[in-house]
Structures are given as C-alpha cells and as structure tokens.
Symmetry: C2
Subunit: 181 residues, 2 copies
Amino acid sequence: MGTALGLMRKKGYLNTSMRDIASSVNMEAASLYNHIKGKEEILIDTCFGLAETLEMGIKEVNDIYFNAAEKLAMAIHNHIQALTQDLNASHLFVHEWRHLSDDKRAQFIQRRDLYEKEFRDIVILGFEEGEFKNVDPKFATLTILASLNWVGEWYRPQGDMEPKEIAQKLTQFILSGLQKN
Amino acid sequence: MGTALGLMRKKGYLNTSMRDIASSVNMEAASLYNHIKGKEEILIDTCFGLAETLEMGIKEVNDIYFNAAEKLAMAIHNHIQALTQDLNASHLFVHEWRHLSDDKRAQFIQRRDLYEKEFRDIVILGFEEGEFKNVDPKFATLTILASLNWVGEWYRPQGDMEPKEIAQKLTQFILSGLQKN
DNA sequence: ACAAAACTAACTAACACTTGTTAGTTTTCC
DNA sequence: GGAAAACTAACAAGTGTTAGTTAGTTTTGT
C-alpha cells in the first residue's frame, strides 16, 4: 500500500479518496476493503509504525551511551534515519496525525510526548554533566525536534546530502550553533 | 472572519466546511457568499497576508542593520512577532498553503522561496564577515526557519513565555547552540 | 422632505458531485 | 471446490456553490 502513502503525501490525507487510492493500483474502491478495514487504518498503521521505530531508536541510545553529547548525536542520527527512510510515512507522521479519530489521536499524542521527554532528559543530563548550557529544556527540545522533523520537507533521496551527513550537520549545528568561537 | 480561521486551525482547512463556518457565526452557508467569493478566499487572504507581513519584516531588517548577527536577531524577532500575533493565521500559513489551487500555490511558494533567500543572505553575510562558521547556507537556513515556524505549534498567548523572549532564546540557541564554551 | 431606486445581507431550496463504506455477486487462483 | 480478491451497485451523508427571494437600510432625484 505504499502508493497510497505517496498520494496522501502529495495531496493530503483528507484530500485523498479511497477511489484515488484504488485507481492508483488499478482497482475499484470497494476492492480495497478486502485488504484493509478502512481509510483510517492506513493513517493509524503509518503513524504508530513510525512511532515505534522512533521509540526503538531512542531506547537504543539510552542502552549504549552514557554522556549527553553522544546520546544526542545518536538520537538525532536515529531520528533522521527513520524519517528519511520513508518520506511518505514521515509526512503522515509529522502532519496528518491530526486527522486520527479522537481516541487514536490521544494515544498518538501520548507516545509523542513520551518520546519528547526522552530527548528532554538528554538535554537535562547534559546540563547536569556540566557540558550543556542552562537552557530551558522544554524550549530546547521543541526547537531541536522542529529542526529534525522539518528535514522531511526538503530531503530528497537522490539529492546531494545523505541522511548520515544531515544528522551529523544537525548535531553540529544544535551543539555549537552558527557563530564562531 | 476570525472564527473561520479558528475552526480551520482546529479541524484543518479541508475538514472545515462552509456550513461549519456559517454555523459558528449563526448563519446559513449560502449567506457567507455575500461576504467572500468562496472558501479558498479565506486561505488565500490569510496566507498572502501573513506573507506580506513577513516580507515587510525582513525588508526592515535590511534597512536598519549592517552586520549579520544583528540582522539575524531582528529577523528572528520579526518572524516570531508575526507568527505569534495570530496563531490561527499562522497555522494556515505554515501548514495549509498546500491546499491552495495550483496557480496560487505556485505564487505562494515563489514568495516563500524569496523570503527564505533573504534569510540565507544573512547567513552568507555572516560568513563573509568572518563571524559565522562556514556552514552550508541552505541547510542552515532551512533548519533555522524550521525552528521558527514550529513555535506556532507550542506557543500559548497566556503561557509563561512572551514572543520577545522566545525570539531572544531562539537567537541565542541558533547563534551559539547547546554546548558550553 | 419624500418617494423611488439601489444596495446589503440574510434566507430557503436546490444542484451536481464526492465521500467512505456495505452488500451481493462474479472472477481468479491454487 | 473453496478461499481470496476482484467486481457492480447502491446508500446515506456531506461538499462548495448558485439561484431566487425577502427584509431592512442607504442613496438618489426631484
């Protein structure tokens, strides 16, 4: 069902009809119901699937590293890997989760907040180590995640920057900023 | 028509029907057409209105300051002021412009790219001055703008951080990052 | 000043179309 | 032969928008 995700990224979830999806695979809309329960299943599976990948990524980070700078670098790397691996899925994850039904949306937000907290803990750890500045952790985390999630908007697989390089530059940027010294 | 923007922010542009908008102001859908040409006009006016505000903001920056660090600080400040001034409009500007009709969307993207270029020129200027690192300007600009635009997602007018303070922290973060030294 | 005309902004009703989904039927494949 | 997967047809609801009308207000001409 990858082509459905492509359509949804291009036209938006709400703007993509079951008939659109069907005709993109030379079918009738009704036939899709032999494979999925309904339109929302696509959104649910995609959003929660990527959520799981990201959660595994951040768990791995905490298992391996001990200091904040290394943790952050690997967390960023894993996040970018997950996002760039399927841009169509990323789009649904970053933008279209709003259109999940009420209960699913609540679940999604909860998991998202938990993931955010893992990042925030790294920022806090860095301060406790004396390595990071005494910034507002919530503010810093939101700003970091904004930068990461936006990568899905401009990254192109055949472009001149690979995910690994993007992650590395982002880490550099987030750790030491734009200014010299 | 501010309540229409509120609905569109809450439910999404496509998910907000003319009947929704009408009943939020105790009217019939047809009556709205005495005031606006159609649903898209709301999206057009909002997206291009905010675009104009932002363009004026960046023009002002270039009129007043000469060095890159000051320019960047004021550009960030103006951007945050514009976005936080009307969160409903910001949401349409950041997320829903995709649903503009083809020609309007093309115009919008063009102006957006131009605005992006103004930011990029500041980054480049900073390098030429010897004040900024030799980063990839396109990458840096996209990352910066991602951080700025995301503010609309978490900023709350009655919250504990004012736009001015947000802009200041963002500038600090972008210029010198998270790490000490 | 006052009737006539024009304008504003609301209404009801309807049009033509699209939406996600279901039921029932036929085809395909092993 | 029987399950999997396609089909046709239809449903009930919702979509943006237009037409035609009506009441109340404002502008105009004499």
